[in-house]
């Protein structure tokens, strides 16, 4: 503890307060007498269920596709690797609304992919739960990729090299050596992607629209309610904050150990 330079304490405290004080403000503002009825309304429960469902689907997609991408980024010697990596990181810096617009123009009924889908098969992707999952995957993927690639690089290739010299095939090495070694990173990356999906707003409302039970996730409901029922919005916000804190606690404590 004594190794922290003293002059860092003040800015560190201010940084922490900047995040913590608004949360306290939210908790203070909650209408406790009606809290239970507000968060168990039909609209609230359907949004919560949709958020959890799409969040889990997003996490699975991130694992299935982002996992392999992280391995490629960390282990392969592809020529344009820095470029590929910066594209993966793009959703981290882009406003989610931009992500939603790009998805809408690509997969919408007049887009280069969405157009043929609609004309030939009558499939409309916007306004569907699929669209919610796609929008969430777009913004959440980098969280898993970055976290997993970091773990892969920190672990190094020594064990894999040893396994290879002992005659293990690349697949066996991946299954028996690489994945067990980076498991903590894999778990925290997945949970972070899940948490990001849970909070996703801009890309979802732009690409998927907002309809109860189909595309109206918790953040969309909160924003909608903030227009006319601020107590409901505050109560739902608190639910989201609690879920987020639980998720972060679970992953970060794993990380530190």
């Amino acid at each position: 503890m004594s190794r922290v330079p003293r002059f860092l304490w003040l800015p560190a405290a201010l940084a922490w307060l900047l995040v913590a004080v608004p949360i306290v403000g939210l908790v203070v503002r909650v209408d406790l007498s009606n809290f239970f009825s507000l968060v168990t309304s039909e609209a609230a429960l359907s949004a919560l269920w949709l958020s959890l469902k799409t969040g889990l689907a997003t996490m699975v997609l991130c694992l299935l596709f982002g996992g392999p991408l992280a391995v490629v980024l960390a282990r392969s010697q592809l020529p344009g690797l820095p470029f590929i990596r910066s594209v993966v990181l793009l959703p981290l810096v882009l406003p989610p609304v931009v992500g939603g617009l790009t998805l809408l123009f690509l997969l919408g009924r007049t887009g280069p992919i969405g157009g043929p889908l609609y004309d030939n098969f009558g499939i409309t992707i916007p306004f569907s739960t699929t669209a919610v999952v796609l929008a969430q995957t777009f913004v959440a993927m980098p969280f898993l990729v970055v976290s997993l690639e970091g773990s892969l690089r920190t672990a190094g290739e020594r064990y894999e090299a040893v396994a290879a010299t002992l005659g293990a095939s690349p697949l066996t090495t991946l299954r028996r050596v690489t994945i067990p070694v980076v498991l903590p990173g894999l778990v925290s990356g997945s949970v972070l992607a899940f948490a990001r999906a849970l909070g996703e707003f801009g890309a979802t409302i732009t690409f998927a629209g907002s309809l109860q039970g189909t595309t109206r996730t918790l953040p969309l409901l909160i924003y909608l309610q903030s227009q006319d029922d601020i107590d409901g919005a505050v109560a739902m916000s608190l639910v989201l904050v609690v879920i987020a804190i639980v998720v972060i606690l679970v992953t970060r404590t794993r990380d530190v150990r």
Binding site: P5, T124, P126, F127, G156, T206, S210, L224, Q225
Partner: protein
């Protein structure tokens, strides 16, 4: 990858501290800069005055062009607009925001300010707006009336009932006795228009003025019940009590309700009184 660090930590932290201090200074300077930069340099003879007008977002284009006419007619006066949702604007006035004129998009929202004693006299209703169905140009799905929004194969987008354009859609549903099954309830009228413009929805319930502002990217289909009581939307305007520029505020109201205002409003699709 990990590289052992050489023991230069003390010097490094000094550099770090200096950099942090410089960053903080820069951030503060940037904030201060934007504050002082927004003050307009008026070179007119008269003492520079600023008229602050809070107006519903749907009035943005009309008011901005009227604002230029007003500034040309009143040298030394700057008109500053605060566009937003009528609910928020009325709330701000009730909370004592330093605003000279309040122009909302519904009588109900204006009434909140009137009830709080914040409006001088009676607000004037000078224009109306009504819902219209926005469809793709040439109306490929052949939507002719409100009930056609429920035709099979037609995907309709509306505003959520909680926001004003959604309330208008709900009122239209009641007036036509048609219950819509929208594919999405959007947050604002602009998003509804975008969904129709991009071809992702076949129809959307918006206002006449929105169809007009889309400049041919969508076509409008009128329905007779749009002018029914409770569906049609009135635009009231009032001078805020305690305004520092009450006289200027009054002449703004005269401009909006006068011939110049009417011309601009009609051009945007509003019906004027």
């Amino acid at each position: 990858m990990s590289i052992q660090r050489s023991p230069r930590t003390a010097r490094r932290s000094a550099v770090l501290f200096a950099a942090l201090a410089a960053l903080l200074g820069l951030a503060l300077a940037a904030c201060g800069g934007s504050g002082s930069g927004s003050a307009p340099s008026t070179s007119a003879q008269a003492a520079p005055k600023t008229l602050t007008v809070s107006a519903a977002a749907s009035l943005t284009n009309v008011y901005q062009s009227l604002g230029q006419q007003f500034q040309a007619a009143n040298p030394g006066v700057t008109v500053k607009f605060n566009f937003g949702g009528s609910d928020q604007l009325a709330q701000q006035v009730v909370q004592g925001a330093p605003v000279d004129v309040l122009a909302t998009a519904s009588s109900k929202t204006m009434q909140t300010a009137v009830a709080a004693g914040k409006i001088q006299g009676e607000p004037i209703v000078y224009a109306t707006n009504q819902p219209q169905i926005a469809v793709a140009p040439n109306n490929p799905k052949q939507i002719a009336q409100f009930a056609d929004l429920n035709k099979p194969g037609v995907s309709t987008v509306v505003c959520a009932p909680a926001v004003p354009c959604g309330a208008a859609a709900t009122a239209a549903e009641q007036a036509t006795q048609v219950t819509l099954h929208p594919v999405s309830e959007e947050q604002d009228v602009r998003s509804v228009l975008t969904k129709v413009e991009t071809g992702n929805a076949d129809a959307g319930v918006v206002y006449v003025t929105d169809v007009k502002s889309a400049n041919g990217k969508v076509a409008g289909v009128s329905f007779p019940q749009a002018t029914a009581q409770g569906v049609i939307q009135s635009y009231p305007i009032g001078v805020v009590n305690g305004s520092q520029n009450a006289q200027l505020a009054q002449s703004w109201v005269s401009l909006v309700t006068g011939p110049q205002g009417k011309a601009a409003l009609q051009q945007a699709g509003f019906t004027t009184k």
